[in-house]
Each structure stands twice: as C-alpha cells, then as structure tokens.
C-alpha cells in the first residue's frame, strides 16, 4: 500500500535527519555531558579504562585563582573578540556592497577576497604567530607609521575625542589587516543576501523618488538584517575555535603539560559558558530589530 504524500513526508523527515540525531547524542551530547563531569574531577587513565577522582569546584578555583595567566588571557581574548566583532561585521558589510557593484575585474577581485578563507586556517595561523619573518613584517609596518603611531600624533592635540574612543579608533586601524583577513566567509554571506533582494523593491522605491541614501537605509539594510545575526554567530564561532586563539592554546597546554584534564576542562567550560551568554545577549538585542521579509 502506498502512503499518502503527507504521511510519507512526515516519515521522510525523520529518516533524512536520523543520522544526525544519532550522531548528536553519541558523538556530541554524550561527550559534552562527560566534559561537564570531567571538569569536576581529575581524570586518571589506566590501560583498559579511565577513572575519575572527584574534586568538586577545585578545578574551577584553580583556573580562576591559581593559574597565573588564565584570568588575564581570558579577559583579553573576550575583549579582543568584542572589539573586533563590530569591525568585522562592518567591514564585511561594506565589502559586500562594493563587490556587488558592476565593475571591470569583479570576478578576480571576488576570488581574491575569499582567498583568506583558505589560507587562514589551522596550523598555518599557528605557525605564523611565532614566525620570524612575519613578526619582522609587522614591526616594519608599525615602524612605518601604518595606522597606530601616525594616527595618534594626528589626534593627539584634539580635545574633541575622548581618549577611550581614540584608543578604539587606533586599535581598529592597527587591526585592519586582521579584520580584512577574517571577513571572507562573512562577505560571502552578505553578498549572497544582496543578490537575493528582489529587484522590484528597488524599482518601486526609485519610482517613489528615493535617493540612493534612502534606498540603502530603507531597503538594503533591513533586508540584510537577518544576516547580521548569522554573521555575528559565525564570527564568534570562528574566533573561538581559531588555532591562534591564546586561550585555546592555553587550554591545550594545560591539558597536555599543565595541571591536567580536569583543570583544562574547567577552563574550557568557563570560556564556553561566557561565549554562550554573549551569543544569547547579542541574539536578544538584535532579533528584536531584525526585519523578516516574507514573499
């Protein structure tokens, strides 16, 4: 007997998603729960299995109070993420609108913009951090007044700018190369969004006599706003799993050479919970302002 379309679709949905559901419980949720348990224990490996020795909150206390650098690095990494996030989002938005325009050589420029996605992953970035020639290049660049020093001199006498804002602007200029290189995927996502805005909307507002400026704020920006959230989440995920993330390196070192698995798990847990809270706050703040277009 052949089932009806609706019935088949219901069963089909379960069938298609079943592999992931199994994998989620076996290879994701189960290890995650174990990770939570490990963070309250010390892990001892034996030849056939592993044992846990309960330590209570000791691992967390170690991470926050005893470890000489965890707290400082933690604050630094989170701070860096929060300062870079708006820059990356703004830059990728801007770059996507640029790349969406018609001009000669567009295909080549687009291909180049996404190149960092390939080059800036994993081991390459990690080695780059301690590479002599790269450090020299950076030194030469800041010496030549790329961003930092020159900007500071320019604004030094300015009374109009509060110092924290000045620091932020200078920091932004200095991290511009990093921002550009970590925006590849985000540009791609915004570009996809720009392409999917129906042409009729632009035509309609043009007939109503909207200026390009109004067109941007009344059409482009609201239509892209759902992607803001996608990109923010991606940026946070990307930075928190990066191989050159100081905290990730510290967690790994603690695991292999330092105070052991339990302490490393506690550090990773503190880090993860903080990230989750940031994501939640960002989501709450933004989702209220997002405009969903339904056609």
């Amino acid at each position: 007997m052949r089932l009806s379309f609706e019935k088949q679709k219901k069963i089909g949905g379960f069938l298609f998603t079943l592999p992931f559901v199994i994998g989620f419980f076996l290879f994701f949720l189960y290890p995650l729960v174990q990770a939570v348990i490990f963070s309250f224990n010390e892990l001892v490996l034996t030849s056939t299995t592993f044992e846990l020795q309960p330590r209570g909150w000791e691992n967390y206390r170690y991470a926050l109070q005893v470890h000489p650098e965890f707290t400082r690095t933690f604050v630094e990494v989170i701070g860096q993420l929060l300062t870079r996030l708006p820059l990356i989002i703004a830059f990728s938005f801007f770059a996507a609108t640029l790349l969406n325009q018609e001009f000669r050589g567009r295909a080549l420029v687009r291909a180049l913009f996404f190149l960092p996605v390939i080059m800036s992953a994993g081991i390459v970035m990690r080695l780059e951090m301690n590479d002599y020639s790269v450090i020299m290049l950076q030194a030469a660049r800041s010496g030549a007044g790329f961003g930092g020093a020159a900007l500071r001199n320019l604004f030094a006498d300015s009374a109009y700018m509060p110092s924290w804002l000045l620091d932020y602007v200078i920091g932004a200029a200095e991290s511009l190369p990093i921002v550009i290189r970590s925006s590849g995927v985000q540009i791609l996502i915004f570009l996809a969004g720009l392409q999917s805005i129906p042409r009729e909307i632009y035509e309609a507002v043009s007939v109503e006599g909207a200026t390009p400026w109004e067109r941007f704020w009344l059409v482009t920006f609201p239509m892209l706003s759902p992607l803001l959230l996608t990109n923010i989440i991606y940026t946070i995920v990307d930075s928190l799993t990066a191989m050159n993330n100081q905290l990730v390196i510290m967690i790994r070192d603690t695991m292999l050479r330092g105070a052991g698995y339990g302490a490393a798990m506690a550090m990773a847990m503190i880090y993860f919970v903080t990230i989750a809270i940031i994501l939640l706050v960002v989501y709450r703040l933004i989702s209220r302002k997002i405009f969903y277009y339904v056609d």
């Binding site: 299995t49 790269v134 799993t241």
Partner: protein
C-alpha cells in the same frame, strides 16, 4: 545649458566613485596578498639574504634549497597522500550526510524539525576543544553504547573516528554545512518534487533524481569548506591519528628534523648560528607554501563555481 551641466556633473560623480572604489579595492587586495607574497619571497631566500638588511621582497640569490629540505623532511609525498585521502573521505561523507539532513529539515514538516535544527546550530557554538577529550576516551574505549561490556575496542589511530562523526554530520563545523544545505533546499521550487511524486517517484527517488542534481552549487560550497578545514585541521588529526603523519604535523616537525640533520652533518652551519630563528623562518615559510599550494590549486579550479554558487545558495533564509 543647465541640463548639460547636470549631466556633466553626474558623469564626474560617477567617475569619482569608480576611482575611489578602484583605489580601495586595490588596497584591500594588497593587504590580503601581502602575507602570501611575503611568504613566497622569504621561502626563496638563502639565509644570508634574510640577514641582509638591504634585501627586501626580492631575494638577491634566489634558491630552492628551502623547498628541497622541507620536501624531504616533511616526507611530503607520504604526508600529502595521507592528508588528501583523509580530507577527501571526510568531506565526501560530511557533505553527503549534511545534505540529507539539510533536505530533511528544509522540506519536511514533522514534530521536532525546529528542535533538530537548533541542535545543529548548537553543535556549532560548542568549541571542539571542550569535547575533544571525552571524544578521545570514547573512541579509545569504544563499546558502542555499552553493548560490548568490558571488551572495548580501540579506534584511535584508525579512520573510524572521522568516518563515524562524518557519517552522522557531527564532524568539525558540520552544523554550518547542514545550515547551508537547508537554506539551499528551501530556495528550490516546491512544485518540482511534488510533480515527481505525482509521477510515482518515492521520497528517496525524488531526492536523488530531482533535488540532488539541482543542488550541485550548494554541494560545491559545502565540499570546499569541508575539504579546506579538514586539510588544515590540527586538533582532530593529532588527537585521533597521532600515529600517522599528516601535513600539519609534518610541517610542525620539519624544522626540528632539519636542524638535527644539519647540526650533525654540517658542523660549520651549527657553530656559525645558521640554525636560528632566521633559518627556521625560511623553512617554515617554504613548508607553509607547500601545505597551502594544493588548496590554492583546488580553489583556482573551483572558485568560479564557488563564488557563483554561494550567491545562489541564498544563505538568507
């Protein structure tokens, strides 16, 4: 007269914008290409050139010695083959499983649809470093949900951890591919599959015959991401397969090996301080280029499809 001048003004305006845009784009492309150029120029230098302050960008005595040394001591052919096989296996499996899941989420209304989608996103935001140790232990003492009792199997050092996680769409960043494929299938016309169904094709036939061919651009995007990230992966490879050499490990080990080799055979080199940061920098740069090169070639061939198809993926939702 007035008409003329506004037309001229508009043309001037347009011209200014295009000049500004060109300058900006060139600047950004320069920033993107700078590390690659820097790496290439350093990798081609003999160590004397790196010491020489007057040598910048263009090596005075270009040499391929760095590449030769790295090629041999990374055991490049072996490491490349391992990396290639692993990246290909995992990315094919990951794309296959994520496509199925993405299709299931995009086109079927069933209780739990939203929950499963939320689960996929959740796997994305948990850093792999957090669960890597429990995962290692589960594969080290693998007993299939307790079915094997105390007779655990050691899957570490085999391809199985990668195969199992890839098949179930729980590998590295697989949530992203599920997301991409879901968005892609959502954008495809519904009439297509309904017509196929009315013609008597079952669900899976409809999927393979009608939906899959139409989703090739999305598959390319997911495949490229998956391949590149597996290629560059360090965490999973060192945890699950530390007994074999893949490119990232080979790259990390090469400078030490070369140093040891040179200090044994070349007393002059070690005593005169050739084995310092400068020298290792040359080795590292040559090695990094060798690691990235296959990806660059892959990207060169796929970039046209890649850029076009991500636009059509319409990750918008």
């Amino acid at each position: 007269m007035l008409m003329m001048s506004t037309a001229a003004l508009r043309r001037l305006n347009k011209w200014t914008i295009s000049v500004l845009r060109t300058i900006l784009l060139i600047g950004i492309c320069f920033v993107i290409l700078l590390p690659l150029i820097n790496r290439l120029s350093t990798a081609l230098m003999p160590v004397e050139d790196l010491y020489d302050q007057s040598v910048r960008w263009i090596p005075r005595n270009p040499t391929l010695r760095n590449f030769q040394l790295v090629w041999v001591h990374m055991e490049y052919v072996k490491a490349f083959t391992n990396s290639f096989l692993l990246a290909l296996t995992t990315s094919v499996l990951q794309v296959a499983s994520c496509t199925l899941v993405g299709y299931g989420l995009a086109r079927f209304r069933f209780p739990g649809n939203g929950l499963i989608f939320a689960m996929a996103i959740f796997t994305l935001i948990v850093p792999p470093q957090l669960i890597i140790v429990p995962m290692y232990l589960n594969f080290r003492f693998f007993n299939f949900m307790g079915l094997l009792g105390d007779n655990t199997i050691n899957l570490i050092g085999t391809y199985w951890p990668f195969i199992l996680t890839s098949m179930t769409g729980t590998g590295f960043r697989n949530g992203l591919y599920i997301f991409i494929m879901r968005q892609f299938f959502r954008g495809m016309p519904r009439e297509l599959e309904e017509a196929a169904f009315i013609d008597g094709a079952g669900l899976f036939r409809t999927f393979f015959r009608v939906m899959l061919p139409g989703s090739i651009p999305g598959l390319i995007v997911a495949f490229l991401f998956s391949f590149v990230w597996q290629w560059n992966d360090y965490l999973y490879v060192t945890t699950f397969m530390s007994n074999q050499t893949f490119l990232p490990q080979a790259l990390e080990a090469a400078p030490g090996r070369i140093g040891r080799m040179l200090s044994q055979t070349d007393a002059l080199a070690s005593s005169s301080g050739f084995l310092d940061n400068h020298f290792y920098s040359l080795i590292n740069n040559a090695g990094m280029l060798l690691v990235i090169l296959p990806l660059l070639i892959l990207y060169l061939f796929m970039q046209r499809h890649f850029v076009e198809s991500i636009e059509r993926t319409g990750i918008v939702g």
